[in-house]
Assembly symmetry: D2
Homo-oligomer: 347 residues x 4
C-alpha cells in the first residue's frame, strides 16, 4: 500500500484526486493539506466525501509530510507550487505537480507567460507528464509536471499529424470550450451562477491565454519546427469538460484515408485515447464525463481542404487529476490504468 499525500486538497483538482484515489486499490491517502480548512476532517471540508474518510487536514509541514507519505500530488497555484515541490524533492519524495511551474523546458518559456521561476534547478529533472508522448521518461521520473487541461486536449488532437509531418504547422487554429471548473474553486463575479447560466463567452482570445506557451512548446517538439497557434478559449455553462475544435491545413497528397490511418496507428496501443473513425459518431462531453479518456474525432472538409479535429476530455480527469494518477501509476510501478478505468457518468 502506497502512502500518498495531497498538498492543496481544497481546490477542484485536489478534491478530484481524493475521489479517484478513493477507488485505487494500491494507495491510501495519508496526508492532505489545506490552509483554510486545517484541523477539519476531510469529510467536513468536502461534504460529499463526509464519512468516507477520517483524515484530518493540516497546514503543509515538510517533516510531517515526509513522515506521513512517500508520494505527493501538489495542487497549489502556479508560482506557489515550485517551492513546495522543491522541499518535497529535497526530502526524496516523488512528486506529480499539477501547476504550470515545471511544464516548461527552460525558465524563459515560463517567465514569458507566468513570471519569475525560483527553482530553475529542477526544470531539467521534470518530465512533461503526457504518457502518450513521454511514457518512457515518466517511468523513470521523480518529478512529473502534469499537463494543463486545454493543452491535453489540443496536443493529443494534433500529435499524429504533426509528428508525421502531414500538416502545415503554421496554419493551426484552435477553438476550445471549457466547463467552469477549469477556472478553479474561488468565487468571483465572472463565475457567479447567474452570470454563467444560459451564457456562453469567449475570453483571452487573440494570443492572451497562458496555456499557449505550453502548447507551442510541445507542438513544436512534435513537429520539429517552431509552431505558433491561434487559440481561442471559451467558457461553457457546464461544470466539467473541454471540447477543442482544431483546424489545420494538410500537406499535399493528403486524403481522408491517410487522416484516419494517422490517428488509428498513432494511438493503437493507448489505453486512454479513443479515435472516432469515419463511421463513428463524433465524441462529445457526455462521452468522457468522469473518465480519463481523450476522445478524438478527426474529419476532412474536402470542400475547403481543411482538417477539422474534435478532441474531448474531462478537464478534471484526463485534463488534471486522472492524468496525474496515470503518471503516478507509471512512476510507482502500478499498471497504468489502475483506478482510472471508470466509464462515463451519463446522463
Amino acid at each position: 500500500m502506497l502512502n500518498v499525500g495531497i498538498v492543496g486538497v481544497s481546490g477542484y483538482t485536489g478534491m478530484e484526486l481524493v475521489r479517484i484515489l478513493h477507488g485505487h486499490p494500491g494507495v491510501q491517502l495519508t496526508y492532505a493539506t489545506s490552509r483554510s480548512w486545517a484541523g477539519k476532517k476531510i469529510g467536513n471540508a468536502i461534504p460529499h466525501l463526509a464519512k468516507s474518510l477520517e483524515l484530518v487536514l493540516s497546514k503543509f509541514d515538510a517533516a510531517d509530510a515526509a513522515d506521513k507519505a512517500e508520494f505527493f500530488f501538489v495542487c497549489l497555484p502556479h508560482g506557489e507550487s515550485m517551492e513546495t515541490v522543491g522541499i518535497l524533492r529535497e526530502a526524496g519524495s516523488k512528486v506529480v505537480d499539477l501547476s504550470a511551474d515545471f511544464r516548461f523546458n527552460d525558465s524563459s518559456g515560463y517567465e514569458k507567460w507566468y513570471g519569475t521561476h525560483t527553482r530553475i534547478d529542477l526544470l531539467s529533472e521534470a518530465v512533461y507528464g503526457m504518457p502518450e508522448l513521454n511514457r518512457e521518461k515518466i517511468l523513470a521520473a521523480d518529478l512529473v509536471a502534469n499537463p494543463g487541461c486545454y493543452p491535453t486536449s489540443v496536443i493529443l488532437g494534433l500529435a499524429p499529424l504533426l509528428a508525421q509531418g502531414m500538416v502545415d504547422p503554421g496554419s493551426i487554429v484552435v477553438d476550445s470550450k471549457s466547463g467552469v471548473s477549469g477556472a478553479g474553486r474561488l468565487p468571483g463575479p465572472g463565475f457567479h451562477f447567474p452570470e454563467i447560466f444560459g451564457n456562453f463567452s469567449a475570453y483571452n482570445i487573440a494570443g492572451q491565454h497562458r496555456h499557449i506557451g505550453e502548447m507551442e512548446q510541445e507542438l513544436s517538439s512534435l513537429a520539429g519546427v517552431d509552431v505558433r497557434i491561434t487559440f481561442s478559449p471559451h467558457l461553457l455553462p457546464v461544470s466539467r469538460g473541454i471540447l477543442s475544435t482544431i483546424y489545420v491545413r494538410p500537406s499535399a497528397g493528403f486524403n481522408e484515408s491517410k487522416l484516419f490511418s494517422a490517428f488509428l496507428e498513432y494511438y493503437r496501443e493507448e489505453p486512454f485515447v479513443r479515435v472516432s473513425g469515419p463511421d463513428d459518431i463524433l465524441p462529445s462531453l457526455k462521452d468522457v464525463r468522469g473518465t480519463n479518456f481523450c476522445w478524438i474525432g478527426p474529419r476532412l472538409d474536402t470542400r475547403t481542404g481543411t482538417v477539422v479535429i474534435v478532441s474531448c476530455i474531462d478537464n478534471l480527469v484526463k485534463g488534471a487529476s486522472g492524468q496525474a494518477v496515470q503518471n503516478m501509476n507509471l512512476m510507482m510501478g502500478f499498471p497504468e490504468t489502475t483506478g482510472i478505468q471508470q466509464t462515463a457518468l451519463h446522463p
Copy 2:
C-alpha cells in the same frame, strides 16, 4: 465470476447498470437485450461505452438468455416486465426487476395504480428490495422488486420515525423534486431541452402519481397503521437526483434530541444511508451524484412543531440501478457494497 444479463439495456436504468457492473469485480455482463438496437455492439448503441465492451445486443429469447447468464436485471416498462420475469423465473434464474410489476404485496394494489396483473402467482415470492427494511428476506430471495426512485427517498426519510411511532402518520406531506432522467430516455414534448432549461414545474400533484401506492404500502407496514400521504412531484432542470422535503407532525413529548437519536440509531449499521446531524450541513444533490447513498437531514421547526426531513438520492443509482446491484450482492453472496462504493462526482 457471475454471468449476468440485462433485459432492456437501452433505457437509462439499463445503461446505468452497464456502467456500474463494469466496475464490479465479481460479475461479467454476458447478455443484454434491446429491441431497437439488436445486432449492434453495446458500445455502438451506447456511445460513451464504445470500445469498453464487445458484447452484441440481441432481442430477448428465453433459451438464449438461460444459456448466457445466471442472474438477470429486468429493465422493461411496467406491464411488460411481468411476463419476461415469469419466463426467467421458470427457467430457474434469479431476478431483480426494476419495474413496478412486483412491488405490491397483492394484485389489488397494483391494479389500482397500474393495471391488470398477469403473473399474480409470483407476487408472493417477490421481495420489496430495500435492504434497509428487508435485508434478511432479500438474502433468501429469488425475485426482488427493486423500489421506485421517489419511494426510496421518501421511505428511507420516514422509516425511523414511523417505525418507532414518533409521528402522526396522518400528517405526512411530501414535496419531491426529481431530475429528468427519472422520466426515462424516450423523447417527448415535455422533455425537449428548451422546454426544461431554466424551467421548474410541478406535475401529477394532488394524489395523481403512481408511486403513491408503493409508498403508502411500505409506510403503512412500517407504521402498523394505514398511512395516506400528500405527494407533490416536481421536475428539476438537471439530469440526475431526487431531493424530497418531507413534513410530518411529531407525537407529544418529541424534541430535537429524540429526532436525531431516532435517525442515527436506526441507520447506525447501514452502509448506504448517511444522516446529517445537528451540526452538519444539509445534504444536496451534488453530495450523492453518481453514488449509492441516501443522505438524510432531519430538522425540527420549533416555531410550528413540524418535523422537516430532507432526503437525497441519485435516482439512477440508489433510486434504481445501484440499489439493484446492492440487491444482487445480497442475493448472490457478494459483500453488500461491492461495486457501488464510488464517492460523488462533484463538481
Copy 3:
C-alpha cells in the same frame, strides 16, 4: 415625462429596473447611483445595456438626487436602505423601497428578524406594496415598501382562502424554490457556478428564513388571526423564478368547486394574477419568465383532504422590480400596467 432615480443600480433589482423603465413610455431615468461604479456610464457598468443609455453613475448625494429626479427606487441592502429613504422623504420625494426596511407594521417585527431600526418614524407612513391587497393605500402613498420575492408568491397564493376563512390557518406548509438571482449579485462560495450547476438544495429550513416575519404579518392580517407557517426555501439551478408549493387543510364543507371559485372571484379584476382552472395546465417558471404575472394553480387532493397550491412568479419582476414599477404607476397616476405588459420570454 417623470424623472426617475435608482439608488443602488448595480444589483440585480437595480439592473432589472433599468431594463423595465427603458420600455416605460412615461418616465426617463435621470439619476442612478453605484458606489463601486461611480463615474462610469451605465452602459459600461451593465454591459448588456451598453450604448442604450448615456447616463453616468454617481455616488448618492441628497442634493444631487433631489435635483435630478422626482421619484426614487431604492435598491440598497436592508439596514442601509432606511437612512437613504429617510433623506429622500425629507426632501419630499416619493419612494419605492425594495429592501425589507419598511415592510413591517412596527419595529418589533423588523427587529425580530433583521435588527435595529433607526427610522421607526417612517413605518406608519409606509404602505406594504402589494397592489392586490393594498391598492387604495398605494394610490395615496408617498413611501411604498416593495414586498419580498418569496412573500409575493406565498401571500398571493393563500390570500383568497385566508381572506374568506376557508382554511385552517394553523396548517400551512410552504415549500418554495427560487432561482439564484434571488440571492443577489455578490459572488460567494455557495453561488459559484460549479457548486450550483446540476445541484439542488434546501437552506434555512425549520423556521430560519427572514421572509417568514413578513409573510406571517400579511397572512395574519388576511386571516384575522395569528398565523404561523412552516417555510422551506430551496435553491434552484436557474437564474430566475420562484415556484412555491403550498399545503393547507380546508375547513369543513370545502370542495373543488369552492376552491376554484374562491381564486377566480378574488382575482377577477387583477391585471397581473392568473389562475389556472381545473382544465388548465399548472403554471411553471417558463410561463412567467420576464413577466410581472403571478400565476396560481390551486388543486384539492381529495385522497387526503389537502389543498395544494402552486404559485409562480419571476422573482426579479413581480417579485421585485416589476412590482416596484406597478407601485410607481399607482403612486404617480400612470395606468397600472404601463411598461410591464411583456409576455414570457420562452424558450
Copy 4:
C-alpha cells in the same frame, strides 16, 4: 393598425413572433395557423401566452387568410413554405418567409443544399432580408426571405472586412455555437433534456451544414469573388443564442486600428449592430438574450497575424423573428426599430 397573420405559429419562431408582435404598437395579430392545434385558442396552445390573446388557431386556408390579414409571416419548414408563400403572393399579400426557400438567388443554390424548388418564378422577386446589407431593396420588396440564424451572425461578423477587401476570402474558418431552440420545437433523441444537459457537441462539421450555401452566396457577393468557408456548428446546452468565432487572415498592411475603423464605420448608422471596441469587453450571449442586436467583437492576434471576430445574436430574435419584424417594419413603413427595442433579459 396593420392586420398580420402567422402561418405555422406553433414552432419557436412562430411563438417568438407572437411575443414580439404583442408589444408592437402598429400591428394586431388577426390570423394564425397550426395544423396540430387548429381550433384551440392561441393561449391554450402556447401556455405562457394564455389569457393575453383570444385568437383561435386554424388550418391554413387561402381565402380565410386573405380575408383576415394583409401581411404574413410564414414559419413553415423549408420545402413546405414555398407553395404557401406562392399562394399568399398571388393573393397580393406581402410576406416575410422565415424558411430557407427564398434565400437563394437561383434554384441551383437551393437545390444543391435543400432539394427541388417548385416556385422558381418567385426567386427573382425575393429579397434577402438582412437590412444591414439590403435595406433599400427591402423597403421596396413584397417578398422577403428572412436570413438563417447562423448566417446572420456570420455575415454581419465578416461584412466590413470582405466588403472592403481587407482579408483573404480563402482563409475563413467559422466556429459557431448555437442554443438548442435553433433545432426547432420537435422532440427527438438528440434534443432530449438529459442528453443535452451538461453536454456540448459538434455536428455536421467538415462541410455538411446547409447554411453554408446561404453564407457563401452572401459572402461572395460582399467580397466580389467566390468564397468558400470552413464551417463547424456546435450545440450549446442553453435555449437561446448564437456565438460565432470567426477566423480570417488579413491582407498586407493590416493593423488593429484599421480593424476597428472598418467595423465602426461600416455599422455607424445601424440601429441593431453593436461593435465592441478595443477597450470594451467582448460580447457574450447574455448581452443579446431577448434582443434584436448583433454584437460584434473583432480582435487581431498579432502573434499569428489572424483576425478573430466574436459575433453574438439571439437566434430567435435577430436570427429569426426579430429580424423578420425589422423587415416588416421596413416593408410597411414603420420606423425600423418599432417593437424590437427591448434590452437584454439578464440574468
